[in-house]
Structures are given as C-alpha cells and as structure tokens.
Symmetry: C2
Subunit: 238 residues, 2 copies
Amino acid sequence: MLTASGNDSDALLSISFKLDRRRPVSEQVYSALRQSIVQFKLVPGTPISENSICRQFDVSRTPVRAALQRLSEEGLVDIYPQQGTFVSKIRIDDIKDSHFVRRNLEMALLREAGRDWTKEKSKAMRDVVDIQANDIKRNDVDAFLLSDERFHQLFAIYAGREGVWNVIMTAKMPMMRFYRFLGTPRRLPIVLEEHLAILDALDRGNVDAAENLLGAHLNQNFVVFESLPVKDRSVFAE
Amino acid sequence: MLTASGNDSDALLSISFKLDRRRPVSEQVYSALRQSIVQFKLVPGTPISENSICRQFDVSRTPVRAALQRLSEEGLVDIYPQQGTFVSKIRIDDIKDSHFVRRNLEMALLREAGRDWTKEKSKAMRDVVDIQANDIKRNDVDAFLLSDERFHQLFAIYAGREGVWNVIMTAKMPMMRFYRFLGTPRRLPIVLEEHLAILDALDRGNVDAAENLLGAHLNQNFVVFESLPVKDRSVFAE
DNA sequence: CATAGTATCCTTGTATCCAAGTAGCAAGCG
DNA sequence: CGCTTGCTACTTGGATACAAGGATACTATG
C-alpha cells in the first residue's frame, strides 16, 4: 500500500493515490494520469518525466511507460524521444474532430435505440436525469458529469452496441478536457431540460425530432467553444 | 539489418521482414504484426509468445511488449496474464460495431465534403477509381484495397477532418480482417461502379443521393457477411 | 565581448533479470 | 481406478541496468 505523495519538486499529482499492488500497476497509473489530465489538474504543456512518475507512485519505469504509451495513443500526451514527455496542448482540430465523431455516432445510436422504445427504457433514463438534478443540488460537478455520461451511454446500450460506446469514450477525451477548461456549471440546468426534451420526443414516438434535439444538445457545448474569449492561450497548440 | 526468418517452430510470420535499427523498433514490430493479423496470415487463436517474436525479430522483449499492448487495445490480440497472448478470435459484435462506426462516420464526412464540391475534387477521386480499375486488371487485391482506402479517405480530407479518418481506420480493423477471411475478389468490379455512382451524384449536386449510395455501398460488404455459409467456425469467438 | 566547442545532465529506447501465476503431467495415495 | 499433490516448463508483469540522443551551461578561443 503506497501513497503517491512525492516531494515538492515532483508535485505533479496533487491527488493522493493509493496503489493496490494486487491489481495491474500499469492500469492504475494509466487511470490516475488520465483522470488528472482530463480534469485539467495536469495542465497542457506540463512535462511528465517517467522517472518523476516513478518516484510519485514508487514503481519502476516499466508500468509507467506502458501507461504513457496508452495516453500517447489517445492524444493526451506527446512523447518526444530523447527529449521528454508532455501533457499535450489542446489542438483545436482535435476538439472539432472529437465533437464530430461523438455527435454523429450518438445521433446514430439514438436512431437505433428509438426503433424499439419502451416505457421501461424511458423510465430508466428519467431516473438518471433525476440523479443529475440531485447532483446539481449538491453542487457536485464531478458526479454530474458522471451521470451525464451514463445518460448518453444508455442510448448505446439500448441500441445493442456497447462497443461503439468505447469508441465514443476515447474520442470524447479531448472534448472532456476542454469542458473542464471552460468550467461548465452555468449550463448544467439547461442540460437537464434538453435531456428531458429528448426523452419526451422519444415517448411521443418522434425519433427524428429526438435525434435533432440530441444533435442540438451536443452542439450547445460546442458553440460555447466557438465564442470563447480565450485568455490563457498557453494551453493551446501553436 | 536483421531478417525475421526464425526457426521452423516459430514460423508465425512467413513474411521476411527487414528491421531498420535506426527507427523505433517497437513501431516496426507493431506494423509487421498488425499487417500479418489483418491480412489473415496470423489466424485467430494463434498463440503469440513474446519470446517467440523476440527470436524472430532478434530484439528484446521490451519493444515487443509495447507492440502487443497496442494491438491489444485495438482488439487484434488478447493478452491473458501469466497464460499467453493470442491473436483474437473474430467477434461478431466487433464487426457489427466496426461497420456501424465506419458507415455513420463516412456518411457524415461525405455530407460535409459534398457542401463545397468542385470539379477538381471529382477529378482527383475519379483518378483513384482509375487506379482501382488498373489494380483489378493486374489482379492485385492488395493494391486494390489500398486504393479503395484512399478513395474513402479523400472524403475525410475534403471535409477538412483528417483526424476523423484515424478513428475510422482503427475502428475498421476488425472489419478488414474479415474481408480477408471472405476473399472479396468477385465483388471488386461492382465496387468500382458504386464509387462512380457516388461521384456522379455529387457532380449533380445531389448530396443526399450520394450519401445514400455510400451507405448502400458500405452495406454491401456487410450483407455478404450476414449471408455467410460459415465453414471454419474456429476463427470466431464462442 | 562574441562564439564555437565541449562536458554534463537530462530524457526516452532497449536489454536483461527476477517474481509470480498458470497449465500440464506424472507420481503417489486412498 | 480416480483423485490429489507437487514438480516443471512455460507465460506475462515488473524492476533494474545500459545505451544513445538532445538541451543546456560552461569554457576556451578568436
């Protein structure tokens, strides 16, 4: 049982992290790093030396390297051989592509899920929306984003294509990092309304309307991005 | 300069492979293995011992492990700790998801590319179709599949979303492995016709028609799969 | 003072060694 | 005969040692 405190010079991860030596270490390092990056606790451009991570988790370089390579494939870190590894800067094109993939796939999933829509499915999803409302009351943004994810995932499950959700999840990551950068709290109640409107349309049997509402819903996050008064340009590429 | 011949007991890769020690070894091992798996030269279920790969490429386990981990994330190999690594069996659900992702994303890309369609773009794509016709004449299936890929990729480029193509490429892999299993040659000339029909619709300015034609075109590969008289069930999961 | 050269420390890439878990088989016991 | 038990030969996961390239700061030289 080891704690990732690290000394001050290596204080990249403020979170204290308990390592479970019985489970694969590389997977745990990967999860911890990914979470820190997506939650913007590791800001773009931060150098991530393999050795510094080793010290913080008190493990060898092997699992750390495995974790970094995975993150590199997902575009969250950039590895420059013989130079260093860095939290990747946000690339506008990445976010646009991320949004494109997510939006089109989710709309297609809803279309399929809507073909055999039932009251039970509607009820289950409305329960999730209730949880989200509760999350807002408690001002728990992390929990909200988690249940929001659950809401969207249910369309994939109801469409019988859970595998597609994995594709969406990995594609989503650049976008999620961006959400954290914006700090979304103001829009949260509106998200609820939009979720409910989608379910209402599905309950009426109007799948096309639901699909369009979902498309608009996902676009809302994006327009915020388009009309962004960027102050801190350092987190962006170029 | 090393050749991946290996002794008879390790003859997993029939291809002779020259290793360039100046470039990253792990990347080369990854490419070689991926190609062998997708081209069905490594049949599903084949055990891939890290050590056997080491002997064949005459490198250490470290880069081999990195390559196998990448392949594992793409679903091309299954790693069972302390048991072994195997070329993954084809999972029907994977193929369905693969097709779903590819079809929806490509149709969306065509929709965007069709918005500012020009004669130059049409010409460039018709050139690719010409190359494909040539590939058929020369009976070069490998070349055909490559230029076919190029044809579809151009929609991503013209839509200004090359990043999306990477998503499609990784998602496509289970499907591509399946093409090789079927042995598609009979349908190749029809593919040409369908490509030309899509371009014709775009030239007429009828994007919706082009999109539907593309959807049908991609479905064709899939119906072959649905009505498959499977003889060799051993390559499938379960 | 400016600049070219160099030494050193940093980085990641690769090789090798050890640990731990699994499967198969064979010997021994009930 | 059937079951158990332990040995053996494998596997991958992790730790450590070594190699090689890049960045930087310092030094010597023009």
